[in-house]
């Protein structure tokens, strides 16, 4: 009996010891030993997502690496609310909450604070913008109007691509690989640091083959090379300075229908077009004694686009500052900026023209935003506005108000109202595009931007909820109702004869006006679940209802159908990121995109998979398959011969880091 009691006592001691002592086996290591423990990458939702009263989604460097994406638009497919449709090998349509087009006119895209939105067409040429993917620290996507801080044309959202500080990219990195579509790619980067100063240099290049053309006309191969640098330094204890720059050149296969005033009146031209450019950016941040800080940024960006039917060289000079300070319960940011963008247009064909050929776009901006802690740590109200003056449409204001309620550390609710504006581009200001309509007459359609276009306006109402349901499950829900007014419409007048240039022909003038209004509503859900340390699951579901109509007095016959038909109602993604062992990773993504009415594209489901093997501390080998479920599938239309199929693709990669 005594034996039983002693054993029982020892058992109880053992059990209580197991729970009373630290259950972190690392707790009793020495400091030196702790410094040698190898850790797995922890999952934490980036802090930005927790405390921001907007629908923000962050793609981390690891998310991008394990998605198998080789281009920025492909990486964006994983973000809820973002619609990405690939047009051909080098062109994508990207939109946020609707209005996806080749040029993404209502989405502001920034790389390290530099706007890559062109005032020529009001949009982003995705094939002109690139970064070394391994240098990306994160991509922050804000669905919904960018609010006061971000700037003009952030009407439907902001995509902010942020690269790593040079302090975080020390050593050598070499990445190389190839496959059937991404036929060859290589990137090399070297970074070093010396006390307060860190730098990196990189170069990258790739060649991509054509996608699937039903008529066998494989014109859309392209290749690109880019190199650049970045330096980050703490020049004093209170000052940080970043300087970075890139130069690139790209040769892209394109096909376009071009009209002429005399026979042959319509020709399909295939050409390898030349795109090149570069940029230089400096950013200085100073922290004052009292805790406030000031940031001054200046950049120069040059683009030279020699397209089939026009050529444009544009130099952009931008300078802006932001001052951030705190009062007792208020967090205030304000700033101002100026951008000058002189451009030169070269007429290549008689039917495409911008007037004047030499023109400078001027933009002056100011903003202020005050975050007021009504109940510190629990309830805050943010009020602000952006004020802008641009050389096309003059002055506009974009006010916004947001509220954030954090009832507990695990949940937050936010709501916002924003008024946003999409200012005119050169197309609406001084542009003529003439296309053959009926050869026998001959009759041409002429799209005319004559400066009688007002900015498009939007009022956005949003509400969202974020919760950590336990340590392993995170949920993010956002919903919105956006009302649009003065959207672009095309209004035509009866045909008139024209005899310059000869031969005499008829022109149907189509003017760009603001004859469309409408609304969008929808929601996005994005849960993230980590059932085990080594296994992460993420999903997104996006629903969009887009309803536009003609305003009284408008004769537009096509925009309503085109706008409503170009965005899917539903889309969803599902991702599984699994560490099979410390050396093996298996990543799987399944993507569904609903059908489009105009262009007529059926719904599709496809999958990407990546298998990576870490050979040793320096080398990782991986194989990635994309668009695996069909030999090819259609996503969008944009080339003269109808939709181009996006092929099933496979590529292998070696990644060396030291």
């Amino acid at each position: 009996m005594r034996a039983v009691v002693s054993i029982a006592v020892s058992m109880i001691t053992l059990i209580s010891a197991a729970s009373a002592q630290s259950s972190n086996p690392l707790a009793h290591l020495t400091l030196e030993q702790l410094g040698n423990v190898e850790v797995t990458t922890a999952t934490k939702e980036p802090a930005e997502m927790r405390n921001t009263p907007s629908a923000i989604y962050v793609l981390t460097a690891e998310d991008i690496r394990r998605s198998g994406a080789r281009t920025l638009p492909d990486a964006l497919r994983l973000v809820p609310g973002v619609e990405v449709a690939q047009i051909d090998s080098s062109k994508w349509s990207v939109g946020i909450r609707g209005f996806g087009t080749r040029l993404s006119k209502s989405v502001l895209v920034l790389i390290d604070g530099r706007s890559v939105y062109t005032p020529l067409f009001a949009g982003v040429y995705w094939e002109m913008q690139d970064v070394l993917l391994e240098d990306i620290d994160r991509i922050e996507v804000i669905r919904g109007p960018g609010g006061t801080v971000w700037g003009s044309n952030a009407v439907n959202g902001v995509i902010n691509i942020i690269t790593k500080s040079a302090k975080d990219t020390r050593g050598t990195l070499i990445s190389a690989g190839g496959g059937n579509v991404e036929q060859g790619f290589a990137g090399i980067r070297y970074g070093g640091a010396n006390g307060r100063f860190a730098y990196r240099l990189y170069g990258k290049g790739f060649t991509r083959g054509p996608e699937y053309h039903p008529n066998g006309d494989n014109f859309d191969d392209w290749r690109r090379g880019q190199f650049g640098f970045r330096t980050d330094s703490n020049i004093t204890d209170r000052d940080d300075l970043t300087i970075q720059g890139d130069i690139y050149r790209s040769v892209v296969g394109q096909e376009l229908g071009v009209s002429y005033y005399s026979p042959p009146s319509l020709v399909t031209i295939q050409k390898n077009i030349d795109l090149s450019g570069g940029n230089l950016l400096g950013r200085w941040r100073h922290r004052f004694q009292g805790g406030s800080d000031l940031q001054l940024q200046a950049y120069f960006d040059r683009t030279d686009r020699g397209d089939i039917n026009f050529r444009e060289i544009r130099n952009t000079y931008d300078i802006d500052f932001i001052h951030h300070f705190q009062l007792r319960r208020q967090d205030i940011i304000w700033g101002a900026g100026m951008r000058l963008s002189p451009s030169q247009f070269f007429q290549v064909v008689p039917t495409v023209d911008f007037e004047p050929h030499h023109e400078t776009y001027k933009l002056f901006t100011g903003f202020v935003q005050d975050e007021f802690a009504i109940v510190p740590g629990r309830l805050s109200l943010t009020v602000g506005t952006k004020l802008e003056h641009n050389s096309y449409s003059g002055f506009d204001a974009q006010p916004s108000t947001r509220i954030l309620w954090t009832p507990s550390e695990h949940q937050s609710v936010w709501a916002s109202f924003t008024h946003a504006v999409r200012t005119p581009s050169r197309i609406e200001e001084g542009f003529q595009f003439t296309a053959l309509a009926v050869k026998s007459i001959p009759l041409y359609l002429r799209l005319i931007g004559d400066g009688n276009f007002s900015p498009e306006k939007m009022n956005g109402y949003e509400i969202g909820y974020r919760a950590s349901l336990g340590p392993k499950l995170f949920l993010d829900i956002a919903s919105f109702y956006n009302h649009y007014n003065d959207l672009l419409s095309v209004e035509n007048l009866p045909p008139v004869p024209e005899s310059s240039p000869l031969p005499t022909h008829y022109i149907l003038p189509i003017y760009l006006r603001n004859g469309i209004e409408g609304n969008t509503k929808g929601f996005e859900i994005a849960p993230a679940w980590q059932p085990m340390q080594r296994w992460r699951l993420k999903a997104t579901y996006s629903y969009l209802h887009l309803d536009v109509r003609r305003k009284p007095g408008s004769d537009d016959a096509s925009t309503v159908q085109q706008t409503e038909g170009a965005s899917p109602h539903n889309s969803a993604t599902f991702q599984s990121l699994l560490d099979l062992s410390t050396n093996l990773q298996l990543d799987l993504t399944i993507r569904y995109v609903g059908n489009l009415q105009f262009p007529k594209i059926p719904a599709y489901t496809t999958a990407d998979a990546r298998f990576a093997y870490r050979l040793n501390k320096s080398i990782e080998l991986s194989v990635t398959g994309r668009n695996l479920l069909q030999p090819h599938h259609f996503e969008f239309s944009g080339d003269p011969n109808g939709p181009v199929g996006i092929k099933r693709s496979l590529y292998g990669q070696i990644l060396y880091t030291r």
Binding site: R2, A3, V4, S6, I7, S10, M11, L14, I15, A18, S19, A20, Q21, S22, S23, N24, P25, L26, A27, L29, T30, L31, E32, L34, G35, N36, V37, E38, V39, T40, T41, A42, K44, A47, R50, N51, S165, K167, G195, R196, N234, D237, D240, R287, G290, G291, S292, D293, H324, F325, Q326, D331, P376, G377, E409, P471, M532, Q533, R534, T582
Partner: protein, 199 residues
């Protein structure tokens, strides 16, 4: 780990034999409790929590601090990135005879009773108002916010490939009246004295 046996007992004693079998079975139940933490690779926060606990042994606070209090508080300001790990790291442990507890705080002004303050990365944009409030207090400030030691933070966690290391701002600690042991300074990747570049 296995159940203890009283000296003199033999397996031939049927009652004890059954008990031993029962003990063996129960140990299998206990194994997961004790062994679980070791079957997965530690996260950066497992290591940071262990560091925070360990720093307490290598720092001397001025005698004015909490001579009458019998707890050693580690405080976390802002969103909690540790989950339950920090609490479970310190539970049952003592530093200098004081039992170690973890407190969550939302405002810098609540840091007065803390020995160690971990500033979460969620507070990154509020350092301008946090640091002046805590820099003069006898509190060891630790964070993983990039550039923390340049803003009068005392210890900043940095990642070196897959390892967690830390940098020290010695001047900031001295100005708050704290003495950092040479053993701590030896292991730091860099020790910054204000007015000089760190090595």
């Amino acid at each position: 780990m296995k159940g203890e046996r009283q000296p003199g007992e033999t397996l031939s004693d049927h009652g004890s034999f059954r008990l031993l079998v029962l003990l063996g079975a129960m140990c299998f139940l206990l194994l997961p409790l004790v062994g679980r933490a070791q079957t997965r690779k530690p996260t950066e926060f497992d290591v940071k929590a262990a560091y925070l606990f360990n720093f307490g042994k290598f720092v001397k606070w001025p005698s004015s601090v909490g001579s009458d209090s019998d707890t050693f508080s580690i405080c976390v300001l802002g969103a909690n990135p540790f989950g339950p790990v920090l609490e479970s790291t310190v539970s049952g442990e003592k530093i200098d005879g004081r039992s170690v507890t973890v407190r969550r705080i939302t405002l810098a002004s609540q840091a007065a009773g803390c020995r160690i303050l971990f500033v979460s990365s969620s507070e990154k944009d509020r350092l301008g108002s946090i640091m002046p409030a805590v820099s003069r207090l006898p509190v060891l400030t630790v964070s993983d916010i990039s550039g923390f030691v340049d803003r009068r933070g005392m210890i900043e966690f940095v990642m070196d490939h897959d390892r967690v290391r830390f940098e020290v701002n010695l001047t900031a600690a001295e100005q708050a009246g704290l003495t950092l042991s040479s053993e701590l300074l030896k292991v730091a990747t860099s020790v910054k004295r204000e007015g000089q570049a760190g090595d």
